[in-house]
Amino acid sequence: MEKSVLTKASHDTSPTGFTPVRIEVEGLRQSFGKFPALNGVSLAIEPGELLALLGPSGSGKTTLLRAIAGLATPDDGRILFQGEEANRLSLRERRVGFVFQQYALFRHMTVFDNIAFGLRVRPRKLRPKKSDIATRVQHLLKLVQLDDLGSRFPSQLSGGQRQRVALARALAIEPRVLLLDEPFGALDAKVRKELRHWLRGLHNETGLTTIFVTHDQEEALELADRVVIMREGVIEQIGKPADIYDHPATPFVCEFLGNIIKVNTTIVDGLAPALGKSFAPVGDASKGPAVAYVRNHDVDVLPDGSEGAAAKLLSTRTFGGSLALEFDVAGFAAPVEIHIPRMSDAPVAFTAGALYRLKARKAYVFSGR
């Protein structure tokens, strides 16, 4: 038996063959032509952490991931693996398991050969015996639940299976850190969900420091220990999923995490009114123009005559367990959409054209416009 976790039964909870590594990124800068992809990014990733890099396209998240992997050389800044400067290490010495967005499986090799590749290309002195490679590949196939598919070619696999082969191939080199670029981007919704849970389980099992890139906020919030929100090459906010969701630090984070209603308002005596209620701003502004961000589902719809902002119902639409209501509200150019849970015994009957009152439960107010 080898020392690696990969040789053990998958429910073994004992310490693994992977050594979790602490990764530090200091003042990373990189530009492509005139376009700055990374504009001074600093970040520390704890050993064994599962970190999500979240942001819209062009925010620099993939560039950051590739820089950590060593696939791109930053113009400036340092990357430390367990205190050791990684810029000086070759790709081989970095031992990074990288899972590409389109998997990048070797199309002319079988699944088995794909997974074995990283072991076979080692220098002779470090290369395991042929039989050891075979054992290790078999264990990895079992780990990613593809036991019988070793002799298939990538073109004969489904998207989810290819994804898992790519993972097994990355794990074969016993990486110090696992990096995944949009790992679920090319899969359909159901497979995405399944793989997400499976990846979480795999992470718990291996304890590897893992970083993945995504533009899907739901994915990041559900899967990660911590989320890094990026925008135009800088980090907007770092935090635990719940903290980021409950305490967004900037208007951008507010807008990026879920559906919001933007309310132009003014802070007077440290309070800003928005949709029938007043809220204290984020930060310490006591007066001046501001924008309040209200999540679509953080608004109560009350009968006309109650306290709140007067609103005329335009239309209703159901989706799944929710009801989307479109209101015409004074002071808003576009219709305001509110989401409420859909219940058969709704206390309020909704009729298009009728008048209601809207009252926000929670709003994030940022001074300035």
Binding site: L71, R92, L105, F106, R107, F117, V121, F153
Partner: protein, 281 residues
């Protein structure tokens, strides 16, 4: 593979008419001329045929043709690999111009390609004086023929590889490198297998053209019998001397070379496809 009765495909009449037309066209313009070459070559029996081939001037022409393609094909294989690698994998200034330039020999008449070399390296050419003082002969000698052949055949390998390598992108190479493979190992076990058929096909086409090139070589060779005559030039000379049997005999050899390369290509492709299937199941 049989054509299935598919509601989306054409009616059987259109299908048959189209297939018949294509076959008819091929017979008329491809098969028939090829057959004629061999029929004419063997018109007076097997002995004159072989006599024409082992005649000293013919032998020299055959040797020269083999020598020229033995230099031109590897040269263009290396150039083609380098050019398509650079174009497909890197972004750099003048990249699009390079793609257009590679196509130049396709759009320029071979005669002009030959003339260009005469203007450069001929006695009255740009480098003519330099070459004469150093007693180097390029035009009307083997080096000129090699240069002209390389010029005419250099798009073949690159043209096959560029679209393929662009479509395949960089991902697999990056994956190999991140798994710890060296650059050379990555080239050998990832890049090369992915492009091997396109590369092989490019080399075959390049070789066929290198052996068969007439126009450019004709300008720079000087037609010195037994010295600077390649097979196509030799065929022309024999034909102009009304020595039809000998002309067609040498021509049939060229045609045979083309057929052999074609069969070789089909065989290798067939074998690879079968191996792929066996290990896949």
């Amino acid at each position: 593979m049989s054509v299935s009765d598919n509601p989306v495909s054409e009616t059987s009449f259109v299908r048959r008419a189209l297939v018949t037309f294509v076959y008819g066209w091929l017979v008329l313009f491809l098969i028939l001329p090829l057959v004629v070459v061999f029929v004419e070559a063997l018109r007076q029996g097997i002995e004159p045929f072989f006599a024409a081939l082992i005649e000293p001037d013919a032998l020299t022409a055959i040797k020269l043709t083999l020598l020229v393609s033995a230099i031109a094909v590897p040269a263009n294989l290396i150039f083609g690999l380098a050019a398509s690698w650079a174009i497909a994998k890197f972004q750099f200034r003048g990249r699009n111009m390079l793609i257009t330039l590679i196509d130049l020999p396709f759009s320029v008449s071979p005669v002009i390609s030959g003339l260009v070399f005469v203007l450069l390296y001929g006695a009255n050419g740009l480098f003519g004086q330099f070459l004469i003082t150093h007693k180097l002969q390029i035009i009307f000698a083997v080096p000129g023929i090699v240069l002209a052949t390389i010029f005419v055949t250099f798009p073949f390998v690159a043209r096959q590889l560029i679209p393929l390598m662009q479509a395949q992108g960089n991902d697999e190479e990056e994956a190999a490198l991140s798994l710890g493979a060296t650059g050379f190992r990555t080239f050998l076990s990832v890049t090369l297998p992915n492009i091997k058929w396109a590369l092989f096909y490019g080399v075959l086409l390049c070789n066929a053209r290198a052996m068969g090139e007439f126009g450019a070589v004709s300008v720079v060779s000087g037609h010195i019998r037994g010295y600077t005559n390649t097979m196509p030039l030799h065929v022309e000379i024999l034909y102009n001397e009304y020595n039809f049997v000998a002309a067609f005999a040498v021509a049939s050899l060229l045609a045979l070379l083309a057929l052999v390369t074609l069969v070789l290509k089909s065989l290798l492709e067939w074998r690879d496809a079968r191996n792929g299937k066996i290990s896949a199941h």
